[in-house]
Subunit: 365 residues, 2 copies
């Protein structure tokens, strides 16, 4: 178990990560909740699996109200947030009330937003239950809900008091969702942390079998890397953009598949492969590409959705400023280092995309 | 015209207040908007009166999209905010886009919230067009929308880049709304600023005639007082609570009248009179009460709504914590100084309220 600290403009978040993190959280969470009202936010599915773990944590609260939302992106809507706020107000939630989220990235994104805007902000804690949420979504203070016009368009930067990332809760996660989260670990390792990359390589066989024990070591290391990036750039004005590695094409692939055929991490994995191709054409070391491909094989990606290069270009260029200023790419230059590239010609990208869709329609070969 | 600065945890707000503030705003606003997209938020009524003033301010923006909402509290709803966000997203609003609010407190509260949560926060400017909004609502970073469960329950602390408080726009304000805002000036003067109180006394005759010229002097002074309170306590954890003078009973009176029979300031004025009575029974100087009553006479309050002491007590004690810990009163001890009192017996308050409703059913005598 590691006790990590994330310093941000409004204070400090304590992050307990690794083996038995939930046990180590008992004392600080109980002291945080003493004489306060607590709301817990989860989904029926996650609560059935892990809800019991909340009992020991919330014993010192004066009262507890459990709120449930559907799993997944459908929870991240304003009408859902409004229903939660009305319930919290009707349950006499006050400015010193607290919220605990227990769930994946969607529950965390929604819960963070609901806490941040209830009575101009109440304190909250994340207990992420997916690997993606543990290493990525719960770290960095992004909160959001979706609009019809797109995902995450309404939200705030607001950091939780604490994040408890215990790999034990990942044991109930389907292997596909474990691999989904591992893509974000691979991403931050490739973009920023060569030692973490080597750790992933040395654990590749274990990861292939989706052995959750391997995660006890990887989760705290991945979180530590993300903390360093977020601390350097809390509101995503500079360095933090390196975390968009794989996301330029990844978001378009997710959207093309109607957010159904590919999980977020899977779409990002395909995006990383494409970024490696672009990087190669700019002279990046082929050995790096070989090492990344070897790791991606462990993750056995599903095939690309049926989509044309034209369609993906349209999705990537959807907004006017992007059309005017060009697409921004995060391209690896060596393991642990990327460059931000904004001067690629549209034609060049389109051609690379055509080749990529032709050559890569079979994954993992 | 005075150029005031409000320092807050996230930066500094420039406040241009007094004669010709809108002219002085032209240069800084044009430079702020250069090469950015601007959204303006107002109501049809206010836009018809003052919308033309936006043209010279927004000329440097790459594009401008005008958004209108109904006047008053009905605009402060999540469904209204959602409609604005969808429009802003569909109009290709970006993180460097800007919002200008032109209107009263409701437009400012809503607009601040919409700006603060769009794409995790875009910059905004307030141009308040009521006296209440100029001296109170626009200063201090409170943004909010209402729930069914109550007013201002969802929102954030987020400060605008600039506030432009030009008394010229108050010339179209009905006298009742001018007096409404003057109550908040009286309140902050009584709670915090004896010199401002004396200024109000020396201008009582002019204020009686609702001569807007008197406001050119009063607006910057009232804003300066509020800035000092907000800077000392940005998130209302301590000193800022003194601004609740008159609000404990005032909110109950507003609610009892269904938010129709009394304006906010009018309800607060009645609340201040009641607080003076409580303060008197604790030994406060009767001369202070006489001075406040003389000023309140200038404001010719409408009568109290038909309501019983029992009903007002129920409204004030609506939430559990208040019932357990008791009502909190802000009571003047001398002009410019208040105490926060939380140990009054319910019976004592009820009795005072009975007397108050009996004796004060005719205002201003």
């Amino acid at each position: 178990m590691e006790r990590l600290q994330l310093s941000h403009p409004a204070g400090t978040t304590t992050i307990l990560a690794g083996t038995d993190a939930l046990s180590f959280a008992v004392a600080p969470v109980r002291s945080w909740l003493a004489d306060r009202r607590v709301f817990t936010l989860s989904s029926p599915e996650v609560r059935a699996l892990h809800g019991g773990r909340l009992d020991v944590l919330t014993e010192t609260a004066t009262s507890r109200v459990d709120l449930d939302v559907p799993d997944g992106e459908q929870a991240k809507r304003l009408r859902v947030a409004e229903r939660l706020w009305e319930t919290m107000a009707a349950s006499e939630g006050k400015r010193d009330s607290c919220l605990i989220t227990l769930g994946g990235g969607s529950v965390g994104d929604l819960g963070g937003f609901v806490a941040a805007a209830f009575l101009r902000g109440i304190e909250f804690i994340h207990i992420p239950t997916t690997l993606l949420a543990q290493v990525d979504a719960s770290i960095g203070g992004k909160t959001a809900v979706d609009l019809d016009a797109g995902k995450n368009l309404v939200g705030l930067f607001r950091h939780p008091q604490m994040v408890v990332a215990d790999p034990a809760v990942l044991e109930t996660l389907p292997p596909r969702l474990v691999r989904d989260g591992l893509v974000e670990v691979l991403k931050i390792a490739l973009a920023f942390d060569p030692e973490l990359f080597e750790l992933l390589e040395s654990r590749a066989e274990v990861l292939k079998g989706s052995d959750p024990m391997a995660l006890h070591e990887i989760v705290p290391r991945a979180i530590a890397a993300k903390i360093r990036v977020v601390e350097a750039d809390p509101e995503e004005a500079g360095l933090r953009r390196i975390l968009n590695l794989g996301h330029t094409l990844g978001h378009a692939l997710e959207s093309a598949g109607g957010y159904r055929s590919l999980l977020h991490g899977e779409a990002v994995a395909w995006g990383i492969r494409f970024a490696l191709g672009l990087a190669g054409s700019r002279g990046a070391d082929p050995e790096m590409r070989r090492r990344v491909e070897a790791l991606l094989r462990v993750l056995t990606l599903p095939p690309l959705p049926e989509v044309s290069a034209r369609e993906l270009m349209d999705l990537m260029l959807r907004d006017k400023k992007t059309r005017e200023r060009g697409l921004v790419w995060v391209l690896p230059t060596e393991v642990g280092r990327v460059e931000i590239v904004a001067d690629l010609e549209f034609a060049q990208v389109k051609e690379a995309l055509d080749r990529f869709l032709d050559g890569e329609s079979e994954p993992g070969e």
